[in-house]
Every structure is written in structure tokens, then in C-alpha cells.
């Protein structure tokens, strides 16, 4: 894309974009840190994740301010308009991802306080998949690659499938060890959080795709393989 005649405008957009990608990186780190703390049942690590979330909130606020300035001063249109609107929405979504990571950390503390329970392996797989989705979608954003964004958007299915499996696995363990039900419920919720993170990554992919191409990916076309909230699991 050609530069704007007024360089300051380019700089403002660049700043906005850099805030968004910084947030993406931070959210990814938060997720990794939260999962590490969960796996090792590390209370300090979990505390650290909880307090780090404030940085994300701060960045979101910063992005919001920058976007408002661009709206007020540049009256962006076309690509620029999509860029700013998408950035505004993406920061909201990424902040939500951060919240999920924080929630995982919070549950880690709860699990830590109760009797320690081994983390189901599937959760690690899920976290891995979610992390990669975030990483890939942020790469697509930075490199303005619509195809990669579309690919991430379609990959949500895999995470949904993993979530279905984890759900059943945890449920099975609950039936086997009713005394661990407290901790396992937390794991259930953590699995749900990871699944939500995947959903948010697809939302980001939608925004990235829209920014680059101007085409909105309808929600209807999103692959949906998570049936846990719509069916009862029979054992």
C-alpha cells in the first residue's frame, strides 16, 4: 500500500497497529504462563499472570485513545477506516483472551489450595492449539495475509473437537473420583476457557480478514464442532 501524503497519519496508524500486535503477543504469553503455572501448580506463577493482566487492560485503553484520535483527526475512510475499526474490536477481543488466561490462573490457585490433582493431558494439547491459533492470526495480521487468517478461522473445528474430548475425559474422571469433583470442575471450566480462546482467535481472524479484504466472514459459515453445551453426554 502507498503511504499517505501526510506522514503523521501513517505514523498514527502504525502506532495503532503496533499496540494491537503487542497486545496479541502479551495475550499469548499470558496463556502460556497460565498453563505453565497450572501444569506445575505454581501459585506464584499464577499470581504473576493475574497481576500481568493489568498491562493488557492498559494497552487496550491506549489503543482506544489512539483510535479515537485517528477518528477525530483523520476521519479515516476505506482501508484506513477498516483498519481502525478492526483494531478497536481486536483489542477488545484480545483483552478478553487475557481475561480467560487470568481466569485460568485464578482457577489454578483454587486447584492449588485444594488437594492437588493431575492436569488432564488434553488441556495441554488444547492450550497448545489455542496458542498456535493466536500466534498464527497475529502473524496474519502483522503480515496482512488474508489467506492465513482464513486458515485460522477454519481451524477452530480442531480445537472444538479437542474440547469435546477433554469434556468427556474430565467428566469420566469425575465419575471415577467423586472426591476430586471440586478440582475437576475447575479443569472443566479451564477447558471451556481454552475453547473460548479459540473462538476469540477466530473472531480476530474475521477482523483481520475484513481489514485486508473488506469482506465480512459471516458467522454462519463458521465451522462449529463444539456440542458440549447443546447435548448431554451419555456414558
Amino acid at each position: 500500500m502507498n503511504d499517505h501524503i501526510v506522514k503523521a497519519y501513517d505514523n498514527e496508524l502504525k502506532d495503532l497497529r503496533s499496540i494491537v500486535s503487542r497486545m496479541g503477543g502479551l495475550a499469548e504469553e499470558q496463556l502460556v504462563a497460565a498453563m505453565k503455572a497450572l501444569k506445575e501448580l505454581d501459585a506464584d506463577g499464577a499470581w504473576h499472570v493475574r497481576s500481568s493482566d493489568r498491562a493488557l487492560d492498559q494497552l487496550e485503553l491506549e489503543a482506544e485513545r489512539a483510535a479515537i484520535v485517528v477518528f477525530a483527526r483523520r476521519a479515516p475512510v476505506a482501508d484506513d477506516l477498516r483498519e481502525v475499526v478492526a483494531a478497536l474490536k481486536m483489542t477488545g477481543i484480545i483483552e478478553r483472551i487475557g481475561d480467560y488466561a487470568k481466569n485460568i490462573a485464578k482457577r489454578t490457585l483454587a486447584v492449588h489450595e485444594a488437594a492437588p490433582v493431575v492436569m488432564p493431558l488434553l488441556l495441554e494439547q488444547m492450550a497448545d492449539e489455542a496458542r498456535r491459533m493466536i500466534q498464527d492470526v497475529m502473524d496474519a495480521y502483522v503480515h496482512r495475509d488474508a489467506d492465513s487468517a482464513m486458515e485460522v478461522w477454519e481451524r477452530d473445528e480442531a480445537l472444538d473437537n479437542l474440547h469435546n474430548a477433554a469434556y468427556r475425559q474430565i467428566l469420566a474422571r469425575m465419575m471415577e473420583n467423586p472426591n476430586q469433583i471440586g478440582a475437576l470442575t475447575h479443569f472443566l471450566m479451564i477447558a471451556k476457557n481454552l475453547e473460548r480462546i479459540g473462538d476469540q482467535a477466530t473472531n480476530i481472524a474475521e477482523q483481520v480478514y475484513y481489514t485486508i479484504t473488506g469482506i465480512m466472514l459471516e458467522d454462519a459459515r463458521r465451522p462449529k464442532r463444539d456440542f458440549t453445551s447443546t447435548e448431554l453426554v451419555e456414558e
Partner: protein, 266 residues
């Protein structure tokens, strides 16, 4: 203001203004055109004066380099200082004042002379160049600063009036820069230009910011939002609101400002 604007540098509050207007009143005969305006203008920022037609913003601008002197019926009261000196003091030489406070007008008005002579005119009458080589350098530097050098360096002898409208306006800016002013006044510099030429002039203003105190009158609120750091809203000769541009355009404090910039003016 505090939460929406970018952080205020503590230096901002103690630095001294380049130009300061205190309780300035301007009359055209019986018409009270500017009513008790006080405004500080700083060296490293662009101040935009906005407001509906006839609000006194252009009149106020023209007081800052005494261009109103030639209007027989015009009377200016109050106090305007440049680096602390009253510019309406009878001891002030108006010719020197205008060299220090340059002006760019609404319609591009290059002299019907060559591009070179357009730029060289100011330095010549003020004796800023001792020899031809100095003058050549002033011309080249001014055109470079105005971002016009690459476009005209091969035809400095062709008439300035043969340039396109946008180039003419940048030539006028270069001409103002050539006398090494401290303040540049711009009276709707883009109102006669197409959007691309406008953008180029705005980019230029953005680059000149910091080297000169720039005060620009504009009819386009968008332009004020794009290029200025401070915005002053005039209405019926009053200064309604003055503040950071971002604050004015995101959270104006005065109802009249809000109504004007949002297009609700009654």
C-alpha cells in the same frame, strides 16, 4: 480533558509563549469584530483558528502582523506581544515585524516573476544576502523546506504563476520561509486547492511544525483536526474555547463548540 488528551508535558505550563494576545478588541468602524480575545501562541505548535464565517478569526490573524493597518476604518485595542514586545508599540517597525511574522494567504498569490525571484524578493528587500551565492542558497533551502525543490529545481527561471495551484501555495510558503520568520500566519491556505494539493500543503505544515509558530485559520474543521495541536474556536467575535485539538474534537467543553464541530449549529 485529563483522561482524553495526551499527557501534558509539565514543561508546557511554564514555557513562555512566542506571541501572546491579551484582551484584544478590533473594530471596523462601529462593527465590533473581535471581542476581548486572549490567546497564547507557542513556538513548537500549530494553532488552528476555526469558526463560522465572520466570526473574527481572520481579523484576529491579521492583527498578529498588523496587516489590518492598511484598512483605514480598522481599530485595534488591547495588547499583542511578540517575544514580550508589544507589536502595536509606535516604536516597532512594521516592516521588520512582518519579516518576523510571515503570512500565507487564502489564494496562492505568487508574484508574476520567476520562481527564483519570488523566493529571493523577501531576502533582497531585507538585505539578508550579501552576494548572489548567499541568495542562491536561501532560495534552494527555502524551496527544500517547502518540499518544492525537486519539482522546480530545473526551472527556477520560469514564472511562478505557471505552477499548479498547490505548487503555487507551497511556493508562497517557501517565499514566507525565505525571510526566516519566527511565526507563520496562514489564512485558509488550502481553500482554493484540490484535496491532493491540500494534503501536500498539510504535510508541509506538519513538517514545519516545531521550527515556526504556525497559526492557521481554516474553514475546514477536519483540517484543523488533522494539522493542529491547539484549536481555538471563535464565534461572533468571541473566543469560545481554546485547547488541545484532540480534546476539542473528542470532548469539547463548551456547548457552542460541540454544536459547531458536530454540524448542529443553529
Amino acid at each position: 480533558m485529563l483522561d482524553m488528551s495526551t499527557k501534558v508535558d509539565p514543561m508546557t505550563e511554564i514555557r513562555t509563549p512566542k506571541m501572546a494576545a491579551k484582551d484584544v478588541n478590533v473594530f471596523y468602524g462601529d462593527n465590533h469584530a473581535v471581542k476581548g480575545i486572549s490567546l497564547d501562541l507557542y513556538r513548537d505548535e500549530v494553532t488552528a483558528l476555526i469558526g463560522p464565517s465572520g466570526c473574527g478569526k481572520s481579523t484576529f490573524l491579521r492583527c498578529l502582523n498588523r496587516m489590518n493597518d492598511t484598512v483605514a476604518t480598522c481599530r485595534v485595542e488591547g495588547n499583542i506581544t511578540l517575544d514580550g514586545d508589544d507589536i502595536y508599540d509606535p516604536k516597532i517597525d512594521v516592516v521588520q515585524l512582518r519579516a518576523r511574522v510571515g503570512m500565507v494567504f487564502q489564494k496562492p498569490n505568487p508574484f508574476p516573476k520567476s520562481i527564483y525571484d519570488n523566493i529571493a524578493y523577501g531576502p533582497r528587500i531585507h538585505g539578508l544576502a550579501r552576494e548572489r551565492a548567499d541568495l542562491d542558497e536561501i532560495v534552494a533551502t527555502s524551496l527544500e523546506k517547502a518540499g518544492l525543490w525537486n519539482e522546480v529545481k530545473d526551472r527556477l527561471d520560469s514564472p511562478g504563476t505557471a505552477l499548479s495551484g498547490g505548487q503555487q501555495q507551497r511556493l508562497c510558503i517557501a517565499r514566507a520561509i525565505a525571510v526566516n520568520p519566527e511565526v507563520i500566519l496562514m489564512d485558509e491556505p488550502c481553500s482554493a486547492l484540490d484535496p491532493i494539493a491540500t494534503a501536500k500543503v498539510e504535510a508541509l505544515i506538519d513538517e514545519l511544525k516545531g521550527r515556526y509558530a504556525i497559526i492557521i485559520v481554516t474553514h475546514s474543521m477536519q483540517q484543523a483536526a488533522r494539522i493542529s495541536q491547539k484549536t481555538a474556536f471563535f464565534h461572533m467575535g468571541d473566543l469560545v474555547e481554546h485547547g488541545d485539538t484532540t480534546q476539542i474534537f473528542t470532548a469539547p467543553k463548551e456547548e457552542r463548540t460541540r454544536d459547531y464541530i458536530t454540524g448542529r449549529f443553529g
